[in-house]
Subunit: 356 residues, 2 copies
DNA sequence: TCATTTATCGTGTACGTTAACGAAAAGCAA
DNA sequence: TTGCTTTTCGTTAACGTACACGATAAATGA
């Protein structure tokens, strides 16, 4: 933004316009008090009017304060490698931000362990960061700490899971229901009329799988709203167990129903695909989630037909930058940020991998 | 880079160590001459030893040199509004970069006029920019000017069209052939076996439509490589004419062939969709390119089934930042940057529009 | 009333770099 | 030697912001 002339405006322009010194403008901009309400308002008015944005080069040069941003997300495992992705986004952001006196504290925890989550949050609190990126898997514990964040006025950004009715700076993640809807749309286009469909759910993963339930809701809602008749079977399998879920799947496939399509509303589609491969079933339309390595592998082999991706590395990356923009450059941040629902097939996956 | 202590070293540290003033160090670092050979060597030696890297904040703050970046792309028209998109990316980048002494010269030309292209490039040369973003529609003319750029050591970045075997800093754009391949893949999934397919080409647009030809190549290559039998008709229509291409299309549709799918390998899918709408044909799978407003409109109405997008606003945005990073912050730049091939349907378009 | 506190504001220096300006040193001719 | 030019170098004022410090004015207390 420029004003009428071609010169960028700085605090000294504001000072001149407001008839005060740059010291006063600085106090107003940083809420450091010691300014009369009237002058404060006048300065703020002119800041608005001239659409002032600070020069972060000068700021970074001058300031000796390094802003600390904390990231709290689950660690990745062989059974759920999803969280590897955000880490690469974090690394990229961290690299870009070292220039700007910003330090990133990356903390992770076992996603099935409530205590681990609590401990990590305690640790983060002790480090007193300037901002927090959080994947709030356990709602009750999260809310507890959020109270503390609010008290200390530490901004926090959610990724992947959104909590309503709290004062988070932003949310970066998917619109779960709509992504299920998209999956159904693709399923319909690739299967015959009156198809037999199978939905493979994860059992024992109840606490934080609300967004997975919503994917399934979106999936089934599509067919009912479009008044398309389908035959759906839903099975629950412990996909996080380290042994392969062959027995459970065998039971389903032994019942002499030939499925036209299978929907796996979580990132463990590769487990199903592996089963299909051993069975030699490569003519079933399968839809899974997330570009993790094993999924990509089976997509390229043809045992997964579609993957729906939400660019998790971008989510973490954007979340960090949101905090930075809020804290340093004072840019306004949009609260709800749904990621694009990417449709990945064998033919376009290459480009998604290349764009980091 | 830090030295053994924890403090960043600057030119004043070098000056102290070399027993000279910072002015001298500066002259050495910038090859501004007026320094005795002996002292020059001593300074360079210490620069090496202390592993000095300049503070780009201070540099940018202090320097009164504004880097000029030129953008040369076709102008958009009602018949080809594609190039509106990059402009919004340019505007965003321009806004973000005004902070950093960077000025953006936006030059556009009539994409059907060789002379216009030449004139614009001449103009750009005269302005002697520090970097150039170019859509090299006319290969021969482009190569001519590229020689000049190379001679002047001006870095240039291509968008949307890539030229091989030249020394460009980077390329941001699609892999045209692969995007046609993706289109074919979608077409196959949504149409019956042995489908009747129609390809709607743009006539009289030959010189710079190599990437459109490559889309078609990719499209047809898919079916041959998969050994799928299709029946393809290709028609050429002047989609850039301001009158609607009804006559030509009528001729094709009067021949009593019922088409299952139509592929429009350019951004003018909306013209076809409009025809289908007046004819009341909404059961044909249609695949077009680019998220321009009229295409979005017909996608939502159901007369376009799939759109393939390449996020052109991101291309221009990234191209500009590549130049900035190269020139100012000295970051290494990756040369070839294919954009993701986005598959857009009615159900997920919302999220693409929201992400700028 | 005057002294003292308190609220409010301006000044000055620093951050690391650029570049103009002028000073000192060296070279050169007489 | 003197006077002059040329080479070589140091000093200093910016760039836009942060923040300590000191200054001023207003409010309070006696």
């Amino acid at each position: 933004m420029k004003n009428n002339t071609n010169k960028r405006i700085g605090i000294k322009d504001i000072a001149a316009r407001a008839g005060v010194s740059i010291g006063t403008v600085d106090r107003v901009l940083h809420n450091r008090g010691e300014v009369k309400e009237a002058t404060r308002n006048k300065v703020l008015e002119i800041v608005q009017e001239l659409d002032y944005t600070p020069n972060i080069f000068a700021k970074s040069l001058s300031s000796k304060h390094t802003t600390k941003l904390a990231i709290v997300i689950p660690d990745s495992s062989d059974n759920n490698p999803y969280w590897e992705k955000p880490v690469s986004g974090i690394k990229l952001a961290a690299e870009e931000l070292t220039h700007y006196n910003t330090e990133i504290l990356y903390e992770h925890f076992d996603a099935s362990d409530r205590n681990a989550f609590k401990n990590v949050l305690h640790k983060v609190c002790d480090q007193n960061p300037d901002g927090i990126v959080l994947n709030p898997v356990f709602k009750d514990i999260s809310l507890e700490f959020i109270q503390e964040f609010d008290k200390r006025a530490i901004p926090y950004v959610f990724i992947d899971i959104n909590l309503r009715e709290v004062n988070n700076l932003a949310y970066y993640g998917q619109d779960a229901e709509q992504s299920g809807w998209v999956a159904a749309r693709l399923m319909e286009a690739s299967t015959p009329k009156f198809p037999n469909l199978l939905i493979v759910k994860q059992s024992k993963w109840k606490v934080f799988s609300s967004h997975i339930e919503r994917r399934i809701e979106g999936f089934t809602r599509y067919f009912t709203e479009q008044q398309k008749v389908i035959n759906t079977t839903t099975i629950e399998i412990d996909l996080n167990a380290s042994n392969e879920p062959y027995e459970s799947l065998n039971k389903v496939f032994d019942q002499n129903i030939s499925y036209h399509g299978i929907f796996v509303p979580n990132s463990r589609g590769f487990k199903l695909a592996n089963f299909l491969k051993t069975k030699g079933l490569n003519n079933i339309i399968t839809i899974g989630y997330d570009l993790i390595d094993s999924n990509i592998d089976f997509l390229q082999q043809g045992y997964l037909t579609y993957l729906i991706s939400q660019k998790p590395e971008l989510q973490a990356y954007k979340a960090i930058w949101a905090l930075f923009d809020h804290l340093v450059t004072k840019k306004p941040i949009r609260k709800t940020n749904y990621s694009a629902i990417d449709i990945i097939i064998k033919e376009n996956i290459k480009y998604y991998l290349e764009n980091k």
